[in-house]
Amino acid sequence: SAVISQKPSRDICQRGTSLTIQCQVDSQVTMMFWYRQQPGQSLTLIATANQGSEATYESGFVIDKFPISRPNLTFSTLTVSNMSPEDSSIYLCSVKDRPNEQFFGPGTRLTVL
């Protein structure tokens, strides 16, 4: 299975600032996703990161708030812009490298004050 790393692992940020989260995969993968998870709760898909084109966002998430880059098949970034305390969450990078298997990074725990 693909090995996924994320940076930073956690951060505490001030309201109104932005944070960029990096996701690195040890192999080339076609599909990469970004999820958000409130502690102890389930996962919500933010967007699909498409290599060479704009990300595909789910309902309730917009590019201005969560810009995503996917410069190649092993790397992606998610930026949380103009943060508010409601953005405090765990952000997870995920990849699908086989048809029925999807793997997750360790997550980035974000706290916005």
């Binding site: 996924i4 048809p99 029925n100 999807q102």
Partner: protein
């Protein structure tokens, strides 16, 4: 409305007991995955089921996919404290390429 409903939401049991977690939907899934997540970590894939009626075993864990591919269950025999975690089912339905996650079951196994 949650596409995948899990029950129970919370479960606290003593070491050695058996338990079953359920994942139900009105939609048909082409495949369904079960994950376990521990605090501070990402979800870890336990199993994927793709065939209606399929049963898979992973040591003390038994996974079943419903005949109609709308539901699944996870049974743990003789639970241990190391089984503690958030259990998530997730599936792919219709033409979707990404997973839809269930609401999650927080399991605590007390020594």
């Amino acid at each position: 409305t949650q596409l995948l409903e899990q029950s129970p939401q919370f479960l606290s049991i003593q070491e050695g007991e058996n338990l079953t977690v359920y994942c139900n939907s009105s939609s048909v899934f082409s495949s369904l995955q079960w994950y376990r997540q521990e605090p501070g970590e990402g979800p870890v894939l336990l199993v994927t089921v793709v065939t209606g009626g399929e049963v898979k075993k992973l040591k003390r864990l038994t996974f079943q996919f419903g005949d109609a591919r709308k539901d699944s269950s996870l049974h743990i025999t003789a639970a241990q404290p190391g089984d503690t975690g958030l259990y998530l089912c997730a599936g792919v339905s219709g033409s979707a390429r990404q997973l839809t996650f269930g609401s999650g079951t927080q399991l605590t196994v007390l020594p």
